[in-house]
Symmetry: C2
Subunit: 339 residues, 2 copies
């Protein structure tokens, strides 16, 4: 029986609990995945623990009604490391908010778990971007597993697909659309001739863009993902600051129209390529031939084309964000780590 601890009950953590609650019998029947959730802890909501397995309906009731855990009978307090020990967890799902500068608090949570031999899945880009090698080393030394499907393309299984499904291939090039906000804006500009400012305004009003959109529109979010993918698929440490990066703020309706008239679509492309001078990682607006699958990617959808020696081009298209979609990433990691 797998004993799961969850830290972080925002949208993604809550979605994971919902999936674990809804799908218990299906997960057992189809994957032989049996589990109890023994610890749920959140900076705002508090902590509940039960080594026999928490009542997920009760925990979800508190979360859906925005009530603190303090009124629940299983409410406890303590340091994260003590809670983890007491919970007898065998797996941790880490879903705290991302801090790209320090990786905290996720980084400490992950190290605390791995050092106890507890396997970890996370959808938190911060720790994976900052401490990929250190965390993998710690996992190896402590006999734990570390998975992070959700850091790129949410539950769209890019990492599992390339690592396992395409095992034996040498990856030569990756090109993709890894930021939904900028793709939404460029799609809007392409389809309705809007200016960048107009399209950004719509993206903001629909909740696709944040109040300060610079992380997306300057290509920084995509650059973090490219840096992580370079480490995973090319075995190269390319810090985010070394990613050749340009955003979409200077893309004009004229540029988009010119491309359109020549049979191209402008996309913010995140790429990694092996060349004569090493591995080049970049994020920049590129003209994609309208016959290429990447040109057909509309709105907030993500997509990646992986070029390998054995298969040529393989393209994977799917959601790049979303609470249930990212909860699914954690879930598939948990199932795979239990095997």
């Amino acid at each position: 029986m797998n004993a799961i601890a969850l830290v972080g009950c925002g949208n993604v953590g809550t979605a994971l609990l919902e999936l674990l609650h809804e799908k218990r019998s299906m997960l057992d029947k189809k994957y032989g995945f049996k589990y109890k959730v023994t610890l749920v802890t959140d900076l705002m909501k508090g902590t509940v623990m039960d080594t026999n397995g928490l009542d997920l309906e009760q925990v979800l009731g508190a979360l859906h009604n925005e009530r603190s855990f303090s009124k629940l009978p299983q409410s406890v307090t303590g340091s994260f490391s003590d809670l983890l020990d007491d919970s007898e967890a065998t797996m941790l799902a880490e879903a705290t908010p991302t801090d790209l500068k320090t990786g905290e608090p996720g980084l400490t949570h992950i190290k605390t778990a791995l050092s106890r031999g507890i396997s970890v899945t996370t959808s938190n880009k911060g720790p994976i971007s900052i401490a990929y090698d250190e965390l993998h080393k710690l996992a190896r030394e402590c006999g734990a597993k570390l998975a992070y499907e959700g850091v790129v393309m949410s539950g769209t299984p890019l990492i599992q697909m390339v690592r396992n499904g395409m095992a034996g291939c040498d990856v030569i090039k990756i090109e993709g659309i890894l930021n939904g906000t900028t793709n939404f804006i460029l799609t809007k500009m392409h389809n309705s001739n809007a200016t960048y400012a107009e399209a950004l305004e719509e993206a903001t009003s629909l909740g696709y863009a944040e109040a300060d959109p610079s992380g997306d529109v300057e290509g920084f979010d995509a650059a973090v993902k490219v840096s992580i993918l370079a480490r995973i698929f090319f075995d190269k440490n390319i810090p985010v600051s070394d990613v050749d990066r340009a955003g979409i703020t200077h893309v004009t309706p004229e540029k988009i129209n010119d491309a359109k008239n020549n049979g191209y679509v402008v996309k913010l492309i995140a790429g990694i390529e092996k060349g004569a001078f090493g591995v080049h990682a970049y994020v920049k607006p590129k003209e994609i031939p309208s016959s290429h699958p990447l040109a057909s990617i509309c709105g907030a959808t993500n997509a990646v084309t992986i070029t390998t020696d054995n298969l040529g081009e393989v393209t994977l298209i799917g959601p790049g964000a979303g609470r249930r979609e990212t909860g699914q990433a954690l879930l598939s990691d948990l199932i795979s780590m239990a095997r």
Copy 2:
């Protein structure tokens, strides 16, 4: 150390041997996959066996020069079951020609191996289509693994992706382009206004279509794949004869032009869908909105859109055939079975 036996040295089997020969150090370093090939047997070429591991350069030399194995020092003769026993193989790669009616000789090869506890990978649609349940049951009973990534979309890892990468999702619908020949013909008709007969002629002259193209153009090949995918992803036995099937022989330039003028592209779609009255499996020409990724699939490329509860639509695009591409399917199965 994994000991691999290969039966069938046509294009796919030879490509697998090439990959195993080329990539030995990479496969060890990256996946910890250590192996020797102890048996290679082919109806036309003969058989070579060495329990210490065959010299693959020598075996490939004979294959590339279309020489029989009989002059090689490791040449042996015997029944397949005796050879398999003597070879001390732990894994079998089955790559004999497909017979969709009997599944033979692949079916017997696979049963012989599984019943000895030897894990099997195959790219041969016949046995998987005919005896899916029987072979899985045998594998379970004998503690062997059975994998068949290559039966659909060659090495494009559809099966591994949905089974592992999307573990936890309920598949609601699958729609795809699973036959390269018909997609080549329809692409030609769409792009150059050719008639069906003209496009078929070009497909034949380029080697995409066989002398008797009926298996492809009548939708039979796609129907076999749909039947297999229904078993894998929907847990439903839908015999090929129960697949609602229409081919492309009646698709006219007028139909394609009408669709084009309305923003659609005609594709031969292989689909499976859960509905109120059970699972419906079909192969038929359908109009796909030109903004959908499936509309962008040109030539012999394959693609599948998988709709699930947790992720919405995920689309996978990649090669659907090819010697190295299908050899890659066998290779990734071998690596995964060794884990």
